[in-house]
């Protein structure tokens, strides 16, 4: 359904009359508003379905002496209790390194780690029984925070470095030098639909699993390995998720495995759905960081040397930490040239849940460090941070990243920033804010204002080469209706809608003719996770290729039947033009069936030019970059620490948008999620390693009343990907999250007004408490 909206321009091709480039409602939108869109937990449970609930010990680290499950087994309704020894083959649900037990055997590695799982007739019975375990364990004092980890726990995996020149020397030689340390908090995904899976035992060793997962192929593989059956015996399916954000990339597997195990042992369908508290305790989050930075620059703020040391809390196992932390390093420059630099990344082991993918995948933390440095420089020199940022942007002759590549297309960042500064009246507002803050100080007012305009340059591709591939299957039926299936999963980002548009465009038909079906490992095999923002880049291309194969077959047939050249056949407005004549699309598909032409095809796509080699620190990790900029204005109450975002302007490049309504949705949602990460969302662990913020009552994601009333989001009009991506579009899933760094930077600006040339010691998230601490620190020094 097309959307009309004065903010959205239609960029579809009038010659085709299909929908690529047009704002279309989400393909499930009508079902969503009627409440009839089905998520895993909404499916009617088949008769005999059993329910699985995990149980854990109340310690974060230690050896289990006794795991007495007698009372659990004897509780009403309990059919089975799963432990590590119930697993027929491989007790692992990790994405890469084989270090995440599905059920821990005799050692607890974090608080909330599942040790057993109850299988009962009802969910309520299983939950009650799970409380009855008697666990005796020798608790060891856990290593919880990054700093403790650095001192005692050590590295989970080797550190990794990008280095160019001699930054220590070049910093030393500089007229101005600064250094500092700050902390960046983690983030809970808080997908509104929690982790859930249901497994159906099939004939023989067959198993079918419905899961809310970004990675059905991985679940298929892990379940097969766990049960000791071939991958071909297992099917994993996902119609839609109620949000993913990276939290269902690797983290959905454990629950699917437990459901499958229960299904195998009981011979009945088995369902698992974590309650919110268990979900927040048991699944990984965004990595929190300590950043130690040092830089040297001239009197205009131009950097000569940069030394950035990142230490992240990875938790007890590797999960995706290697790639996440690599991406922190890839984005530690954001959009700036570091002539000589060292980017060091340490991956710290702690006795906490294993941190994982989260929208931006380590990139946001790298960028925040770069932007923090920009603010530090500007405040130190008493200059406008915008000026310092512009000065340090990549430019001709200053265009090699710390990992040795030219960031192609980087010039766009400057254009976007300049345009946004103009349309958002940055300079004028900054002057007004300066006057406001002076007046506030003189009048003993308690509000201070801040403004900041920050860029985003985000690399698009999986940095692990083999993940950059996708497949699709397109079936056309005699009546002219079309079915498409591809390897990507729908988590609300509108991927299925975009793919439907792409396929409709190939055939020149209305989007209403194209049906998308659930993602299934038996339709399209060996897929990558829907992640790294490349869902539509990869799957869109694969789907367009599959549809293209069929379109060419149809064109060939039409040419033969109507005695014209193939070139003279074209598809538009639901019609097929054949020379001078025109026939309905469904007439041609009917003829194809009669003429014995296959109307089913697969398509495969592999991103070209991926040359990154981690060992030698060389080559190109990204196919292209997505870019944008945001300008945020905030008010801070220096007596309470409260903060309000007054206005946000965003200009973001999505290339040639496949669907502007969806893209704008991703930008707004990403920005707000990023703002939550940097302001209200705080994960608190106690000294025993227990997460104390395991429900929305204590963990605060932004609400309707927290987001700016004045929110101006535009797509960069001349957008067009220079690389031959699907219809020259650009990825949009993750990059907008980092636009929210402008909020953190604006808060810094507001607090900095209390002092002269002092960088407020502000950590992220800038909660009221953190803001008050920074205010107090500046005031005590100003004394």
């Amino acid at each position: 359904m097309p959307i009309t909206n004065d903010r959205i321009e239609d960029r579809s091709d009038p010659d085709v009359g299909a929908s690529v480039g047009r704002a279309m409602a989400h393909d499930s939108a009508v079902a969503h508003v009627r409440g009839t869109a089905v998520y895993v937990d909404d499916l009617p449970e088949p008769k005999g379905t059993v329910h699985v609930v995990p149980g854990y010990a109340d310690i974060a680290r230690g050896r289990i002496d006794t795991l007495d499950l007698e009372a659990v087994r004897n509780a009403p309704g309990v059919l089975d209790v799963l432990t590590a020894s119930s697993i027929p083959e491989v007790n692992d649900c990790s994405p890469v390194f084989g270090d995440d037990p599905i059920l821990a055997a005799d050692e607890v590695s974090f608080h909330g780690q599942p040790l057993f799982a109850v299988v009962a007739e009802t969910r309520d019975q299983a939950r009650r029984a799970a409380r009855l375990a008697r666990i005796e364990a020798e608790a060891i004092r856990p290593i919880v925070a990054v700093d403790e980890g650095i001192e005692n726990g050590g590295d989970l995996m080797p550190s990794y470095t990008f280095e160019r020149g001699n930054p220590a020397l070049s910093i030393k030689a500089c007229e101005h030098r600064l250094e500092g340390r700050f902390r960046i908090g983690g983030q809970e995904h808080f997908y509104l639909e929690g982790q859930v899976a249901i497994a159906f035992p099939g004939e023989g060793d067959a198993m079918r699993i419905l899961s809310s997962t970004q990675h059905p192929t991985e679940i298929q593989h892990l379940v097969a390995a766990m049960l000791g059956v071939p991958d071909a015996a297992v099917v994993c399916e996902c119609r839609r998720m109620g949000g993913g954000f990276g939290g269902k990339e690797s983290q959905a597997a454990q629950w699917a495995c437990l459901a499958a195990l229960a299904a195998r042992r009981t011979g009945r369908p088995a369902k698992i759905r974590l309650d919110r508290d268990d979900d927040m305790r048991m699944t990984g989050k965004r990595h929190d960081f300590r950043v130690d930075w040092r830089c040297g620059f001239d009197h205009e703020g131009l950097l000569a040397g940069v030394d950035l040391a990142f230490s992240s809390r990875c938790g007890y196992s590797a999960d995706l930490s290697m790639a996440v932390n690599d991406r922190t390093m890839f984005h530690a420059d954001n959009a700036y040239f570091y002539p000589e630099c060292r980017i060091l990344s340490r991956r710290i082991r702690t006795d906490t849940v294993s941190n994982t993918a989260f929208r931006g995948f380590g990139g946001p933390q790298g960028m925040l460090a770069a932007e923090r440095m920009m603010d530090a420089i500007a405040i130190h020199l008493d200059r406008d941070p915008f000026e310092v940022r512009m000065r340090n942007l990549y430019a001709p002759g200053r265009d090699i990243t710390p990992f040795g590549m030219e960031p192609q297309g980087y010039r766009l960042v400057r254009r976007i920033m300049q345009r946004l500064a103009r349309t958002g009246e940055y300079a004028k507002r900054r002057r007004a804010i300066a006057r406001f803050n002076v007046a506030a100080a003189e009048g003993a007012g308690h509000l201070r204002k801040g403004i900041s305009l920050t860029p985003v340059k985000f690399g698009i591709s999986f940095t692990l080469k083999h993940l950059n591939q996708a497949g699709a299957l397109v079936n056309v039926f005699g009546d002219g209706s079309v079915q498409v299936n591809h390897g990507g999963t729908e988590m609300g980002q509108g991927l299925h809608t975009k793919i439907t548009q792409v396929v409709a465009e190939e055939f020149g038909v209305d989007i209403g003719r194209v049906r998308i079906t659930a993602t299934r490992t038996d339709k399209v095999p060996n897929t990558s996770a829907t992640a790294a923002s490349v869902g539509s880049d990869l799957n869109g291309m694969a789907a367009s290729r599959a549809a293209g194969v069929i379109r060419r077959r149809l064109a060939r047939l039409a040419a033969r039947l109507f005695q014209v050249r193939e070139r003279q056949v074209s598809f538009a407005y639901g019609q097929v033009r054949v020379g001078e004549e025109s026939i309905p699309f469904e007439r041609l598909t009917q003829l194809a069936v009669e003429e014995r032409v296959s109307l089913s095809a697969t398509g495969h796509y592999a991103t070209p030019g991926m040359t990154w080699d981690r060992e030698t620190v060389s080559g190109n990790p990204f196919y292209y970059y997505a870019m944008g900029a945001a300008c945020s204005e905030v008010s801070v109450d220096i007596t309470t620490g409260e903060m309000r975002i007054d206005r946000v302007d965003i200009l973001h490049d999505v290339g040639r948008s496949l669907n502007p309504a969806i893209d704008i949705g991703q930008i707004e949602g990403g920005f707000v999620q990023g703002a939550g990460w940097l302001t209200t969302e705080e994960l608190a662990f106690d000294e025993q390693g227990r997460l104390r913020t395991h429900a929305p009552s204590t963990y605060k994601i932004p609400t309707c009343s927290d987001v700016p009333a004045d929110f101006r989001v535009s797509l960069f009009e001349q957008g067009r990907n220079r690389m031959p991506t699907i219809h020259r579009s650009k990825a949009v899933g993750e990059p907008p999250l980092m636009l929210a760094i402008s909020v953190f930077s604006a808060i810094t600006h507001a607090i900095a007004s209390l002092s002269s040339r002092r960088l407020p010691p502000l950590d992220a998230p800038a909660t009221p408490e953190a803001i008050l601490r920074a205010v107090a620190a500046l005031r005590s020094e100003a004394g």
Binding site: H26, G35, A37, L192, D275, P696, A709
Partner: protein
């Protein structure tokens, strides 16, 4: 085990009877017994609004209401919002403004917004924002939702 309670109520205009345990929530009964799965469980603690329903004209979190409390009351859920094929103006505006992404929060927002417009047909933007602050959305960033509600309100006033 205690005997189940027999409850007589009206759901979306239809007289309905069900049996439930005393401690079962209205949300559990709606979803598991009556198969009205449009109301979602996001937290089960009254903090996310995904389970919003209207009971006797009051907006409530169905996860915090006991099913037995529905006795002799009227319950409105998302399933009753459209009249057959005809969508409620709020539903139409949510579509037009693309005010949804993953869609899990959508039923809750629609019910909450409906209850707002029933008591205040002409809310200001900040009234909308504060009224909807009990509903969490992790996908959209809320702007489109607020606009859709304001637009629907204007439409319904005619």
């Amino acid at each position: 085990m205690m005997a189940k309670s027999h409850i007589t109520t009206v759901i979306n205009g239809d007289p309905t009877e069900f049996l439930c345990e005393t401690e079962q929530t209205l949300l559990d009964v709606l979803r598991d017994e009556l198969h009205l799965t449009g109301s979602k469980e996001g937290c089960a603690s009254g903090d996310c609004g995904a389970c919003s329903v209207i009971v006797d004209g009051r907006l409530v979190c169905a996860c915090l209401v006991l099913a037995v409390e529905a006795q002799d009351k009227t319950v409105e859920t998302i399933e009753g919002m459209a009249s057959g094929e005809r969508l409620h103006p709020l539903q139409t505006k949510f579509l037009e403004h693309a005010a949804l992404q993953c869609g899990v929060c959508t039923p809750g927002f629609l019910i909450a917004a409906k209850s707002l417009l029933e008591r205040n047909p002409d809310p200001t933007e900040s009234e909308v924002r504060y009224w909807l602050a009990g509903n969490l959305c992790r996908c959209t960033g809320y702007d489109k939702i607020v606009r859709a509600v304001l637009d629907a309100a204007a439409d319904m006033r005619g």
